[in-house]
Amino acid sequence: MMGRTFVSPRLGVKDVADRWARSARALRKEDQKYGKELADLAKEHSSEAFVACNDPLEAATFSVLVEILKRQERLNTERNDDVDP
């Protein structure tokens, strides 16, 4: 064998995201879309997260939080833009 390989970053996070998507189905109807979206956000930065994260769950969480922070900043900007000077 050449070298040695642990589960690839993308596959590791994909498994987490798949579990989250399946769990989303158990949520109340109005909450399901958030569960599914979370599963998507987990994959958004999975490759980059694996530079230093050892655990797929850690990488998924990192990815989701980055996207949430981005949204929060966007929201804040929009809110500030709405305010008349």
Binding site: M2, D40, S47
Partner: protein, 666 residues
């Protein structure tokens, strides 16, 4: 003295050289010793006495990459070495046991094949006056019952057909009269044993060898880079180069120039290297270098990995860096990639088994890779203006690519997993650093894999200069007028599936049907035709304008599907096994091959046509009379969707994953 072949014969080395148009064989008596180091010489004194008495063993100092060891020279062969190992209960270190004698002879004498007098081994060009002919035997070597038509190509093309005996003697006498130095022959390794049998039956002498002698290489199946490969047994003639053009990886990738360059670098006969994988080539090269530097080549690896915690392993074993691309079409994109990144890191960071923990010590691996790397940088430059260098460049590229993987191979003579990990760690840092520089200079980074980054922005030459200055590595840039990054099934960007237009109008493709080895010709041709049309479009408006033509090709292909031939539907795959646990088409194809009386082995390539996908039925290509239209329509649509994606969300920097998720829904 231009060496074209070498072999160990009768206690010495036969060197076949060509000078002034004539080929001669010179025999050099040579029976080199192997080396042994006893961990506890006192405990082994009986054995040492016996070795001194029977095999003239003499005390010596053994130079290894890790330092010097006291030991003995033993004038005997591998069998004796293995007995010593066993009797000493493996408490010995053996060296130079399995080095090929002809290679060792050349390395010790500072000579090498495929080169004139006093020439530089690392010179990018190969000068030769070899007489080359091609022999083609029409028919399938696995199943042809008789010897069908034979074609010999030299200054003209000659055909031989008729009764088997007539064909055979005509072919043999032609080879004898032409007396070529090189025979290029598709499926040579499959035909040779048959020719030999036929010759014996008819009392004829095979003329392939120049002295009637042949070396035989055994057939084997093995794993390489996650793929099962198969190597046929081979009958290798003395004094003449016989290349199986169909099965030789080195010839396929590098042509005759590639074979000759591999021989020159590894100090082995072109006959052998043409049958090697790039991994064997690089390890042979390292062995030649070690002998040349008077460093002993270990028989068994003894520098095992240290025990580490699983978390440490997980942290170290990460592979190359990837940035996730957004699927979509992007305009004016620059691809920047590091030339031979991994070997460059080995050289620059002085990574070698013996420098782990001792970075100040000059490393063996960096020292031997440096000239190879410098040569590659030259051939990569030269091939831009002279395509004659393509073959050599390709072989060097493969050798350098493999040298990295080889550092992680458990049996590598000069490998160690920590080196492997060190290289990828460094490569990740380099790619991140390059991304940082690009972003700092106002570029937007679209995608990145291991040693390659795709960016959008102005003045890429400035970016190149700055990255080269900061990393001290070579970069290559390629401009794309447009590039398409395709999505995976879940809508996220695929790392390795893209295609884009280069300034000369050609389209570079990766990971799509046109590039995959198992795509049927019918589908490959459709996608290629579409890509050629798209290659004419250098602007947004021009790409819009080819849409109708491209869709026309799709419709035309659908209409032609029912009347297509089985040949065009052949799927070629390398099989990894003979028994399949689950029902699958590949398994059905293997079964069909056997039912037709064709021999199959893991690693062999089979060519089959799917006749009924739902019932898992397939036929070997020569036997297929029909094909499953629905199945092939599915493959065709998939190939079409890859192309159609380019027309889908253009003029937008990216499209949302969920909208890209289902290509066919569009």
């Amino acid at each position: 003295m231009w060496i074209l072949d070498s072999a160990y014969r009768n206690g010495g080395i036969d060197l076949w050289t060509k000078e002034g148009g004539a080929v001669t064989r010179v025999h050099h008596p040579y029976d080199p010793p192997f080396l042994v180091h006893f961990t506890d010489p006192h405990a082994s004194h009986d054995m040492i006495d016996a070795l001194e008495e029977r095999y003239n063993a003499e005390e010596c100092t053994i130079r290894t990459v890790f330092g010097s060891l006291p030991g003995y020279r033993v004038f005997a062969d591998r069998r004796v070495a293995e007995v010593i190992e066993e009797q000493a209960q493996y408490d010995v270190q053996l060296f130079n046991v399995d080095v090929r004698r002809d290679q060792r002879f050349m390395a010790e004498h500072g000579i090498f094949p495929c080169s004139g007098n006093n020439s530089d081994r690392f010179y990018p060009e190969i000068f030769h006056d070899l007489d080359v002919i091609t022999i083609r035997i029409h028919g399938e070597p696995e199943r042809s019952a008789t010897l069908p038509e034979v074609e010999v190509v030299h200054e003209r093309i000659e055909h031989f057909s008729g009764p088997e005996g007539t064909v055979l003697s005509a072919l043999f006498s032609r080879i004898s009269s032409l007396d070529p130095d090189v025979i290029l022959m598709p499926d040579a390794d499959a035909w040779m044993p048959r020719l030999q049998r036929l010759a014996q039956d008819r009392g004829l002498v095979m003329p392939f060898s120049r002295n009637g002698k042949y070396r035989s290489m055994n057939s084997r199946s093995y794993w390489s880079y996650g793929k099962m490969e198969h190597k046929d047994a081979a009958l290798v003639p003395d004094g003449r180069i016989l290349i199986d053009t169909e099965r030789s990886f080195v010839f396929r990738e590098g042509g005759l120039e590639g074979v000759l360059m591999s021989a020159r670098l590894s100090g082995l006969s072109p006959n052998l290297v043409s049958r090697f994988t790039p991994g064997t080539l690089i390890s042979s090269y390292e062995t030649y270098e070690a002998i040349r530097w008077d460093i002993a080549v270990p028989f068994r690896k003894s520098d095992g990995e240290t025990i580490r915690r699983i978390s440490t392993l997980q942290a170290a074993d990460r592979g190359g860096m990837m940035f996730q691309p957004r699927p979509g079409v992007f305009w004016n994109v620059e691809e920047i990639d590091f030339t031979s990144m991994y070997p460059s890191i080995i050289v620059q960071e002085n990574l070698s088994p013996e420098t782990i923990g001792h970075p100040e010590q000059p490393g063996f691996l960096p020292a031997v890779l440096k000239p190879l790397l410098d040569l590659r940088i030259r051939t990569k430059q030269l091939k831009k203006t002279d395509p004659a260098f393509n073959g050599t460049d390709s072989i060097l590229k493969w050798m350098l690519v493999t040298c990295f993987g080889y550092t992680g191979y458990k049996n590598a003579k000069f490998g160690r997993i920590e080196v492997h990990e060190g290289i990828t760690r460094q490569s990740r840092e380099l790619l991140i650093k390059t991304k940082d520089i690009a972003e700092e200079m106002g570029f937007s980074v679209l995608h990145g894999i291991v040693d390659c980054l795709w960016v959008q922005g102005a003045h890429v030459s400035l970016l190149k200069a700055r990255v080269e200055q900061e990393t001290r590595l070579h970069l290559e840039c390629e401009h794309f007028d447009w590039i398409v990054f395709l999505p995976l099934a879940d809508g996220f960007g695929a790392y390795n599936r893209y295609f884009g237009r280069l300034p000369d109008g050609s389209v570079k493709v990766r990971g799509i049907a046109a590039r995959r080895h198992d795509t049927p010709e019918f589908i490959r041709a459709m996608q290629q035709e579409m890509l050629t049309e798209m290659g004419r479009a250098g602007t947004v408006a021009e790409l819009d304008a080819v849409w109708d033509t491209v869709r026309g090709i799709y419709r035309k292909t659908i209409a032609r599907l029912p009347s297509a031939s089985g040949q065009e539907m052949a799927i070629s795959r390398r099989i990894s096994r003979l028994n399949y646990a689950h029902r699958c088409i590949e398994g059905a194809a293997v079964r069909a091959y056997r039912e037709q009386g064709a021999s199959v082995a893991p690693g062999m390539k089979i060519h089959y046509v799917v006749t009924d996908a739902k019932r898992y039925q397939a036929e070997p290509v020569w036997a297929a009379k029909t094909f499953d239209q629905q199945y092939y329509r599915g493959l065709l649509d998939k190939a079409w969707e890859e192309i159609a994606f380019a027309f889908r969300k253009r003029n937008q920097p990216a499209c949302q994953p969920e909208k890209c998720a289902n290509l066919s829904a569009w």
